[in-house]
């Protein structure tokens, strides 16, 4: 893409404005504006810098927080588990040595890195944002080009503030019309993944557009962009608009005063030009979406809550039939079982997908005045200390506690089971997280992905439940 007069997409514009140099084969040195760092994928990168005698080029553009394996129970006495403690201590000594800003565990600003970035105003339209975590796609909700990288690239960004990249292809997903009652951003993105598959977006950056996307609040847009990676795309984007500006205004790291006005003027130039070309276009009708749950071990295995466990024999190839049979065996499900008859053992509400205040409000609205079903363990893990504080100010913690939910400290928690929050083998979980892979929430654990309201509904009935039957 040149910088001439040809109409450009939002992605093209951000890309073009960040190319430091184009190498002969088309690989670009791409400038990175914001680098988020956490404890799991950074130790080897800092070690690499140290061994090469390099420094962090821009500590002021780098932000660190521990989230993946921090405990979500009382942590006033530090971290019990020796390996987790070592990883967090290693991060703390690295940020001290290299001068990187850090939100410590005791700081209210600590939380899941993808909740913290937008919350602090670190993530802004038109920026390039990277992190050693695939759910970095979340920040695309603000109109930033944000994607996950491996640890070697973390080291590359720390040392050079750039990455070697080739431009991705442009995919437009247009969601027309309005989401029906009971459907949320989570149902929307699950519907998209169900439609295009987990490799559907490979090689692409997805721009989400259309009335249903414009209608979403910023939290909903973050939920959608978050799971772009589950559709195979490294990044998802939503064009910045007045909602984006209102969300950012006044946040600690957002520009202020005259700088704010200049920034907004620039941000308004970012949306895709009329006639901009996309390599792939997908159209969905929002009014056809119903509350969804996953039944298998890939995020593309979605089914309406009113539906049943599918039959592997309906697949077209033997490889696919074998894969689906393996999934059903792992999930302990039989074809034809109504999804609403599937009983759950655990409910997890949280994660970078659905750990924001809006998600907790939606779950609390269902939990209010009800009780967690007998034998079910239900936990709420706010996405950050500030989300937790806000929820407590609104009395949501009381709603959850009175209903029998655990109210925990911020972190990634049972989304990936790196800390003590894990499923036991065979346990079935209604989860607001992003991946239902085998063993993701603990060895042998069985995950059904869904929205926060649907997870809360499962908690109070003890089975997968159509939330539309509980709320009016």
């Amino acid at each position: 893409m040149g910088e001439g007069t040809a109409p450009r997409t939002l992605f093209d514009k951000i890309w073009d404005s960040h190319v430091v140099e184009r190498l002969p084969d088309g690989t670009c040195i791409l400038y990175i504006d914001r680098h988020l760092v956490h404890e799991v994928t950074s130790p080897q990168a800092f070690e690499g810098l140290r061994m090469a005698g390099r420094r962090v080029r821009r500590p002021d553009a780098t932000f660190a927080v521990a989230d993946h394996n921090v405990p979500t129970s009382d942590r006033s006495k530090g971290i019990d588990e020796p390996e987790s403690r070592l990883q967090v201590e290693t991060l703390e000594s690295n940020v001290a040595e290299f001068g990187v800003p850090y939100f410590p565990l005791q700081d209210a600003r600590q939380g899941i890195v993808h909740i913290v970035g937008p919350e602090q105003g670190i993530s802004q339209p038109g920026l390039t944002i990277v992190c050693g975590d695939s759910h970095t796609s979340t920040h695309g909700a603000l109109g930033a080009l944000a994607f996950g990288i491996g640890t070697s690239e973390v080291e590359h960004v720390l040392a050079t503030q750039t990455l070697l990249q080739k431009p991705a292809k442009n995919m437009l997903i247009e969601v027309q019309g309005r989401l029906p009652f009971g459907c949320t951003a989570k149902d929307l993105i699950l519907a998209i993944i169900g439609r295009i598959g987990t490799a559907g977006g490979t090689g692409h950056v997805i721009e989400y557009a259309g009335e249903a996307i414009r209608d979403l609040d910023m939290a909903g847009r973050m939920t959608v962009c978050n799971m772009s990676i589950e559709a195979g795309a490294r990044a998802g984007l939503v064009a910045p608009d007045e909602k984006t500006f209102a969300y950012l205004n006044g946040r600690p790291y957002a520009p202020k005063g005259e700088a704010w006005d200049r920034a907004v003027a620039y941000w308004k130039t970012l949306p895709s030009d009329p006639g901009a070309r996309y390599d792939t276009t997908v159209t969905l009708k929002a009014d056809e979406i119903v509350p969804l749950v996953t039944w298998g071990t890939s995020p593309e295995d979605v089914v309406p809550i009113t539906g049943a466990v599918p039959d592997p024999d309906s697949e077209t190839t033997e490889a696919r039939r074998a894969a689906k049979r393996r999934m059903l065996e792992y999930m302990g499900l039989t074809p034809g079982t109504r999804m609403q008859d599937v009983a759950v053992d655990v409910v997890f509400i949280g994660s970078c997908t659905n750990g924001r205040i809006e998600d907790l409000r939606a779950a609390a609205a269902v939990a209010k005045g009800r009780k967690v079903a007998g034998g079910v363990r239900a936990m709420v893990v706010p996405g950050s200390g500030l989300v937790k504080r806000q929820a407590e100010a609104e009395g949501l913690d009381r709603v959850f506690r009175e209903a029998g939910f655990e109210w925990r400290e911020a972190g990634c928690s049972m989304c990936l089971g790196m800390n003590a929050d894990q499923l036991k083998p065979g346990q079935r979980c209604a989860s607001t997280s992003n991946r239902n892979f085998e063993g993701r929430q603990g060895p042998g654990g069985r995950t059904h992905l869904m929205s926060p309201a649907m997870a809360a509904a499962a908690a109070v009935t003890g089975r997968l439940t159509d939330v539309r039957e509980l709320v009016t």
Binding site: E21, L23, D25, T27, I29, Y31, D33, V40, T41, P43, Q44, E47, A52, R54, D60, H68, N69, E83, S84, L86, Q87, T90, L127, G132, D133, S134, G148, I149, G150, T151, S152, E153, H156, T160, Q161, T162, L164, A199, T202, I229, G232, K256, A259, Y266, S298, A319, A323, R326, L416, G417, M418, Q422, P425, R435, F437, E438, G439, R440, P443, G444
Partner: protein, 203 residues
């Protein structure tokens, strides 16, 4: 990084679609601050039974595949997380080349940073290579990166495509950071321009 030029070795068949990074290396093994030592937990859930013993049905627990250096895999291999622990675990086990009909973007990229060659080939060709990989002691493939060919046990050569820059780096075991820093003056100039235009992004 160890250069990749040619590789002749045992190819193990793993005909499963969407092998995700949690399957390659579960999150609970990511609590390390080193790159090495992850090979023992490669494909942990498939490789070991609940009591910790090896599952003899899993391909990499069988001879000659314990010594596999090449993996022939299903579509969308490496989907999921960005964890570089996935290629580190493969490398630590001894795998230096993965052949599949498709890879997830981040995993694909991470391979090149660690001297692992991911080769994308059409599904029908992968099916043929999958059959080759089932030949036990004869499941040997030869990879020649310079010539961009996979040589089958029957001698047939299959050409593959690879990005020229990545090929160059892999052939010579080049460190990306050193190469990028050769352009440091360009980065300085770019940064100065941005600092003038958007000073609020700089502390």
């Amino acid at each position: 990084m160890q250069p990749f030029t040619t590789l002749t070795g045992i190819a193990a068949p793993l005909p499963i679609p969407n092998v995700d990074t949690d399957k390659i290396i579960p999150a609970r093994f990511l609590k390390t601050i080193k790159r090495s030592g992850l090979g023992k937990n490669l494909f942990d859930a498939m490789r070991y039974r609940a009591d910790g013993s090896e599952d003899p049905d899993f391909i990499l627990n069988r001879e000659p595949y314990r010594r596999a250096e090449i993996l022939v895999a299903g579509p969308n291999f490496g989907c999921g997380s960005s964890r570089e622990h996935a290629p580190w675990a493969l490398l630590d086990f001894g795998i230096r080349c993965v052949i599949a009909p498709g890879f997830a973007d981040i995993f694909y990229n991470n391979c090149f940073k660690n001297g692992i060659l991911p080769i994308k080939l059409p599904p029908a060709i992968c099916d043929a290579l999958m059959e080759d990989a089932k030949l036990g002691a004869n499941a040997r493939l030869m990879i020649d990166l310079e010539r961009q060919v996979v040589v089958r046990p029957n001698g047939e050569e299959i050409r593959f495509e690879i990005d020229p820059f990545r090929k160059h780096c892999l052939l010579h075991g080049l460190d990306d950071i050193g190469q990028t820093l050769a352009h440091a003056a360009k980065i300085d100039a770019y940064e100065a321009k941005r600092r003038a235009a958007e000073p609020w992004l700089f502390a």
